[in-house]
């Protein structure tokens, strides 16, 4: 090995994508001496796929990261182009914020945040080897430097063993033409990590002035747009529109005629692609009876002409891409600046990790992001935050933190990964949470900011501000329960205009708000004692009043589930020695080593009867 530096870091992060950034910042902010290694200083915080942050369930993750003091939400607000709250009208559980961003600006802001962060050293270096000696991790760079660290977070994204596929052509590469991490994979295999190949893809980028935007349906942002971060006070206005177009029969014909030339279909790619983000050729083959597929044309930034074609990723040859993209309305003369490609990379089986994101067999080694088998910037950032927190705490001799399913999408994401594993890149969805109505994007701060403060990631000023707004909300709910409105003509006029039945007796404000048809806004004129509060407070109060019954129902479900989560299973348990467990359950449980009965019950292959045996075994040990 090469030259050692004298310094021993508390946390070393390999990779400075969305996972690496949050891991590095969280660790440094918790007081850990932190190093972040990036293969290319100009690739810090890169968004190699869509120029947007958030979306269904992903928006929840961003809010949660922000509630814990992470950077993704704030940076998004600082470079946002336009934003929309998706799923309005489908209910508060599935409201999800998504913002288009200036991707270069996003990367620049993030890089600057890392550069300016106390306790953090950002450095361009490809890590080529990793080993553990005397309880310390040694990281060797391509240039022969050796860095020592008590803990390591691997956040290699799609760089680890990255290989790009465009039709018949394939070559070793990271995303956006940056070189890949060629050597680290070998070292990780030597450590015994169960690596495997996944693949993902991205559509072409097209020059704005080559698109006939006049014939396309524009998609403006919300007015006013809503910020992600609880700290953003003034977001400003939307800066640009997105556009919608559709594939047609000719697109379909071109793709089907050339399908054998797609890297995905010619059998060249061994990696498993995401089910939830299929390439256009996948969509056309799998949903053969669909006459058209929707695509969104989104600006990549304010200082570039490049536009992103969401929904149109592909691994067909470049000349076929030119042909099928140009078959789409508005894109007839499209000039492709970067072709679509598929990328295959090494990642790990996440069941090899605890819910702390530390590898079960390698103390001090953590994984985060796409390396753990997930897909998406937001999923990566969420894991990065958790891995960074736990790596720092381990270096400082503090207890590890596990996020609960019942309290966050972050916890749900990680529990799914480490308990159930994933057979394709894991994408967050609202339907993955059984507690959707309490894990809303509007109350992420209530769920997580106290923890963020306790951990040391939230400043006392912000915590005070949070407590004040939580109190305002609680008081407003109390006021709504107490305030009685008289059955005046004015009130009934409002009520009837919202197509709900008039009142004859005095009625509580809360009871009116319980009616799905009525909102705070409707009742402004008659609600004369209403205090002046931020809009957000009223929105939250209204949700909690309206959905009170359901929220209570889910809280009861949480309480029931908690009982099983509290029954701890010793990590030293040899499940093959437990009488009555079926063989499959013994094997699976020995592999996952669940922390508690609740987690054990979610392991695939473990039946209700097995769980009963575990319960009896547990109680008999006492």
């Amino acid at each position: 090995m090469g030259t050692k530096t004298s310094k021993i870091y508390d946390v070393a992060v390999i990779g400075a994508g969305h996972a690496g950034i949050e891991a590095g910042l969280a660790a440094a902010r918790l007081g850990a001496k932190t190093a972040v290694f990036t293969i290319n200083m100009d690739a810090v915080g890169n968004c190699p796929c869509n120029p947007s942050i958030g979306g269904t369930a992903k928006g929840h993750l961003v809010r949660e990261i922000d509630a814990l003091g992470g950077e993704m939400g704030k940076t998004t607000d600082q470079c946002f182009i336009q934003s929309r709250m998706l799923n309005r009208g489908k209910g508060p559980a599935v409201h999800s914020l998504r913002a288009q961003i200036d991707r270069r600006e996003y990367a620049d802001i993030m890089k600057r945040k890392l550069e300016k962060q106390e306790n953090l050293e950002l450095r361009q270096a490809e890590i080529t080897d990793i080993e553990q000696k005397d309880g310390v991790w040694l990281l060797q760079t391509r240039n022969g430097m050796i860095y020592e660290s008590k803990t390591v977070v691997i956040a290699t994204g799609t760089f680890l063993g990255g290989r790009i596929f465009i039709g018949e052509v394939s070559y070793e590469s990271g995303p956006d033409g940056i070189f890949p991490a060629r050597f680290l994979g070998v070292a990780l295999k030597k450590l015994g990590l169960p690596l495997r190949r996944f693949k993902t893809g991205t559509p072409a980028r097209v020059l704005r002035r080559s698109i006939n935007l006049d014939v396309l349906e524009p998609q403006p942002g919300d007015t006013p747009p809503e910020p992600f971060s609880y700290e953003t006070e003034d977001l400003g206005d939307n800066k640009a529109d997105c556009y919608i177009s559709y594939t047609n029969d000719i697109t379909k014909e071109i793709i089907l005629k050339n399908i054998h030339r797609s890297a995905m279909y010619s059998g060249k790619i061994e990696g498993v692609g995401p089910r939830y983000c299929p390439s256009i050729e996948d969509k056309i083959v799998r949903f053969a009876d669909k006459p058209r597929h929707q695509l969104f044309i989104e600006p990549c930034g304010m200082n570039t002409e490049e536009m992103y074609l969401q929904g149109m990723s592909s691994s067909l040859p470049e000349e076929v891409q030119i042909e099928f993209y140009r078959s789409i309305k508005g894109l007839e003369n499209a000039h492709i600046t970067r072709p679509a490609y598929a990328i295959e990379y090494d990642c790990v089986d996440p069941t090899a990790m605890f819910a702390t994101l530390e590898f079960k067999t390698l103390q001090g080694l953590y994984g985060a992001g796409q390396f753990n088998g997930s897909s998406g910037y937001e999923e990566a950032a969420a894991q990065g935050l958790v891995a960074g927190i736990n790596a720092a705490r381990q270096a400082q001799g503090k207890e590890q933190i596990v996020f609960e399913r019942a309290n966050s999408y972050i916890g749900t994401l990680i529990d799914d990964l480490v308990t159930k594993g994933c057979s394709d890149p894991y994408r967050m969805m609202t339907s993955r949470s059984e507690y959707r109505l309490i894990l809303r994007q509007d109350n992420a701060d209530e769920r997580l900011t106290p923890l963020g403060f306790e951990l040391g990631l939230i400043t006392p000023e912000r915590y005070e501000k949070f407590k004040k707004s939580a109190e305002q909300k609680a008081n407003e709910i109390k006021r709504a329960e107490k305030t009685v409105l008289q059955p005046t003509e004015e009130l009934n006029k409002i009520i009837v205009s919202r197509e709900t039945s008039p009142v004859e007796q005095p009625v509580r404000l809360a009871d009116l708000l319980r009616r799905p048809q009525l909102s705070y806004d409707d009742l402004t004129a008659v609600d004369i004692t209403r205090p002046s509060l931020p809009k957000r407070i009223f929105e939250q109060a209204e949700i909690e009043i309206k959905y009170e019954g359901y929220i209570k129902k889910q809280q009861e479900a949480v309480a029931r589930a908690k009982k099983l989560e509290q029954k701890q299973l010793p990590q030293t348990t040899d499940y093959s020695q437990i009488k009555g467990l079926r063989l499959e359950a013994q094997e699976k449980l020995n592999k996952i080593k669940p922390q508690n009965i609740g987690q054990a019950s979610r392991v695939s292959g473990v039946t209700p009867a097995d769980v009963s045996v575990l319960l009896i075994w547990l109680s008999s040990r006492k």
Binding site: V94, M429, T430, L437, S612, I616, S619, S620
Partner: protein, 452 residues
């Protein structure tokens, strides 16, 4: 929260034991038990004699003995009170009802044993014994599951589960992929499919209810004004003279009970004092009891004297029975008819003309009883939900769908409806054992009967 259940076998017996277990078992027992001493002041493992009173109205239900056990030295490891009252279904149920009204929750099947296990009251040796039981049960359960799987009900539930999964999947896809051109979830279609599946589940529950009736029998009360022929009817149904029959109004003063078999179903018959205003103290109590019987009965046989016009006393009977599962019996069809049948018909209850004296019309009455118990089409060997746990699972699924439909009709957003549909799927998965859930231990212990 304390749990309570009748711990003795269902049916008649000298005494019945109602067990209450939990942190507030003693307080609950004290609020329904009036003895010389408060139970919570008694030393452990002792008892007291007293009476059980209805906590709501203070009315005496029965004389009883209460035994007090204190945590951890009890069967469940919690504070336990065991109340021994007079046997029979009605009294025991009343005592149980009183305990529940006082704050206890009805114990689930096997819950006392489960609590005992979870509180470490079953030691290693016993626990191993329990594992053996579980192993045995798994084999049995496998067989039972297979039997259920092959059965009509399981197939129906499986189909309903598939329907619901499809609904939930559509709702989720529609919410999670708003920009993927997923077909809109339409209000009418959603409400229709929720209601459709709810109706299917209700049909299964009805069959199951009937199955339960077959197993446990039907609490049946005979009411009517004095001398309308209630006791004659009782004797006619029983096939022998159980009740004393005279032409003196008010002969039957207390409740007289008998079990009779009508076409395979057991009726637990209670003949009651004729309902009328009376100065006679004893008879007054009888009348009150008769009215109480109506409240707890599953079936009311209302007897009218068709040779007389309807009186104010008949009106009281009609009032009592209006909301009950009732059959109107026009007795004394052998005499000239004076009663206004049309008025009775307006209550939408089955009306049967009989003569308890000659036996005419009894066959038709039996047919009506079978019809009203909804057991006409039941094959006792198949298609009946095997046990309480499965019944609960189907019932929960049904309740969730009812809530889903209500939520939809009230105009709430679909995310709330999704929660209900998914809970319904969970319940049905529990039914077939496909889901590992927090109710698992309950499922394992379900084979212990309620109260153990």
């Amino acid at each position: 929260m304390a749990i309570a259940a009748i711990s003795t076998p269902f049916g008649t017996g000298g005494i019945a034991v109602i067990r209450i277990s939990g942190g507030d078992a003693l307080q609950i027992a004290d609020s329904i038990f009036a003895g010389s001493k408060k139970l919570h002041e008694l030393p452990p493992n002792t008892g007291a004699v007293g009476k059980i009173v209805d906590p709501a109205c203070g009315q005496k239900i029965d004389e009883a003995v209460a035994l007090v056990f204190k945590a951890p030295h009890s069967y469940t490891g919690e504070d336990v009170v065991e109340i021994s009252c007079h046997g029979g279904v009605v009294v025991a149920n009343q005592v149980l009802r009183a305990a529940i009204d006082a704050g206890a929750r009805l114990a689930n099947p096997g819950e006392f044993t489960k609590t005992a296990f979870l509180n470490g009251k079953i030691d290693l040796l016993k626990a191993e014994g329990v594992i053996d039981i579980i192993n045995a049960k798994t084999n049995l359960a496998a067989k039972a599951a297979l039997a259920v799987k092959g059965g009509a009900i399981s197939k129906k539930c499986e189909k309903i589960k598939e329907n619901l999964v499809a609904i939930a999947a559509h709702l989720c896809a529609w919410a999670d992929f708003p920009e993927e051109d997923i077909a809109q979830v339409e209000f009418d279609a959603l409400l229709n499919s929720v209601e459709e599946n709810k109706t299917l589940l209700q049909a299964i529950l009805q069959t199951a209810q009937a199955g339960k009736l077959l197993k446990n029998g039907v609490q049946t009360v005979i009411i009517g004004k004095p001398n309308s022929g209630k006791s004659s009817l009782m004797n006619a149904l029983a096939g022998f003279d159980k009740s004393i029959v005279t032409d003196i109004a008010g002969t039957t003063r207390d409740v007289v009970t008998e079990e009779v078999n009508i076409g395979g179903i057991v009726l637990h018959l209670a003949d009651t004092a004729g309902i009328r205003q009376t100065e006679d103290k004893i008879e007054q109590i009888g009348v009150k009891r008769a009215k109480n019987e109506v409240k707890t009965a599953q079936l009311c046989l209302c007897v009218f004297d068709s040779s007389l016009e309807l009186t104010a006393e008949d009106d009281t009977v009609l009032q009592q029975a209006a909301d009950e599962n009732a059959i109107f019996i026009l007795n004394k069809s052998d005499l000239p008819q004076k009663l206004d049948e049309k008025r009775l018909q307006s209550y939408n209850k089955p009306v049967v003309k009989i003569s308890a004296k000659t036996g005419k019309g009894l066959g038709q009455l039996k047919d009506e009883i079978i019809k009203i118990c909804n057991i006409g089409n039941i094959d006792p060997g198949a298609g009946i939900i095997a046990n309480e746990r499965q019944f609960c699972a189907v019932q929960n699924a049904c309740t969730e769908l009812e809530q889903a439909a209500q939520t939809l009709k009230n105009g709430y957003t679909f995310d709330a409806v999704t929660v209900n549909v998914e809970s319904a799927v969970d319940s049905l998965m529990e039914l077939s054992g496909e889901r590992a859930s927090e109710e698992i231990v309950d499922a394992v212990f379900h084979s212990f009967c309620v109260g153990k």
